[in-house]
């Protein structure tokens, strides 16, 4: 009887790693104790998301904010005049070339591995086609908050938060089909996006003030 030597542990190890990667894809988790605690980043996020404006009245500031969001392609989905609250959304494609390349490469190498293992008599499939981002909804939540009112109008603080929901396309793991629609959520913390929004709002506040 001939003993099978080296290749066995190699194949087992590769398959185990693939299974592990496929099954436990979750990252580190935040514990419930941390949900309501301020973090060192809280202050930095606040200053990135907040600007102050001088305006004769809060309604004008809110309508200028809605106009700025419209300029950036958002649809206003919710509004509350008394609290100076606006929520807006826009839908866009989320496809990225980098992700599609890595999907293609993973699919290619896992197929190759399956073919190699099949040549050794294995019937199981290690083919893995990771789902890629397909569609996204970008959301904005805005609050215009009065600070103090003087003789020549009031000062307001506008805080806006952008975030996005991403839906993934279909994929495959072994013989199991991964249906499309897996959802991912993400806060947008790119300072440039906030700067661009406030530049628009500045312009729109000016236009509103001058009634142009």
């Amino acid at each position: 009887m001939r003993r099978s030597g080296g290749p066995k542990p190699h194949c087992a190890f590769l398959l185990a790693v693939l299974l592990l990667l496929g099954a436990c894809a979750s990252g580190p988790r935040t514990t419930s104790k941390e949900f309501f605690q301020l973090t060192p980043e809280s202050a930095a996020n606040k200053s990135m998301q907040t600007r102050r404006f001088e305006m004769s009245d809060g309604d004008e500031l809110l309508s200028a904010s809605a106009a700025a969001l419209q300029d950036l392609g958002f649809q206003v989905t919710e509004s509350n005049r008394a609290l100076g609250f606006l929520r807006a959304a826009k839908e866009r494609s989320a496809r990225e070339r980098g992700q599609e390349w890595s999907q293609g490469l993973t699919a290619f190498f896992t197929t190759l591995l399956t073919v190699l293992c099949a040549a050794g008599g294995s019937t199981s499939s290690a083919i893995y086609v990771p789902p890629v981002d397909l569609h996204q909804q970008i959301n904005a939540s805005l609050i215009a908050h009065p600070l103090e009112s003087g003789e020549e109008g009031a000062r307001f603080e506008v805080r806006v938060m952008f975030y996005r929901l991403v839906w993934k396309g279909e994929g495959q793991s072994g013989d199991i089909y991964i249906p499309p629609g897996e959802q991912k959520m993400e806060m947008i913390r790119d300072a440039e996006i906030y700067q661009r929004f406030f530049a628009r709002l500045n312009k729109s506040v000016f236009l509103e003030g001058e009634r142009i």
């Binding site: 066995k8 087992a12 398959l15 979750s26 104790k33 606040k46 509350n80 050794g120 008599g121």
Partner: protein, 157 residues
């Protein structure tokens, strides 16, 4: 190199491959510990438990009017990184959510209600959910009210 690997794999016998798969599956399953068993949830908790939850979730603050209190709640939630989803001034209800970063698959949701208890005193109640399950840790609510206190203090000064 590839030829060498290929020839080594070809030399594998079916039984070796089956053993390989069994080992792989066992290792794969062992890697992910199964979630802990959840006891059947009592949907209608006893009055005592409800009282305990309510006390934990409620606090009264010295705030002159309701709109100021609601604005304070909104600012406090925003400071904690919550997205304001809905705000109703006449009813004094604010709902918000945040992602349990850095994990983007878990969501924390809050509903805050503001009611006036007496002249210049507002009762604020908060319900927090983690992935649609109520948070019962009193420390979480204490943290929330500490942030709220700070937010009212800043608003006043």
């Amino acid at each position: 190199m590839i030829d060498h690997l290929f020839s080594r794999v070809l030399r594998l016998r079916p039984r070796a491959v089956v053993t390989t798969l069994v080992v792989a599956v066992v290792v794969g399953l062992g890697g992910c510990a199964s979630p802990p068993e959840v006891e059947p949830v009592n949907l209608f908790a006893s009055a005592e438990e409800q009282m305990k939850m309510r006390n934990m979730q409620t606090r009264t603050f010295d705030v002159s009017d309701r709109t100021t209190a609601i604005r304070g709640v909104i600012q406090g939630l925003q400071d904690l990184g919550f997205i304001i989803e809905r705000a109703n001034e006449p009813l004094g209800i604010v709902t918000g959510a945040r992602f349990a970063e850095p994990n983007y698959y878990d969501v924390v949701g809050v509903t805050v209600t503001v009611r006036s208890a007496a002249e210049g005193r507002m009762t604020i109640r908060v319900n927090a959910l983690f992935n649609n399950e109520p948070i019962t840790d009193p420390e979480v609510y204490r943290d929330f009210f500490a942030t709220l206190e700070r937010s009212f203090f800043i608003g006043r000064s």
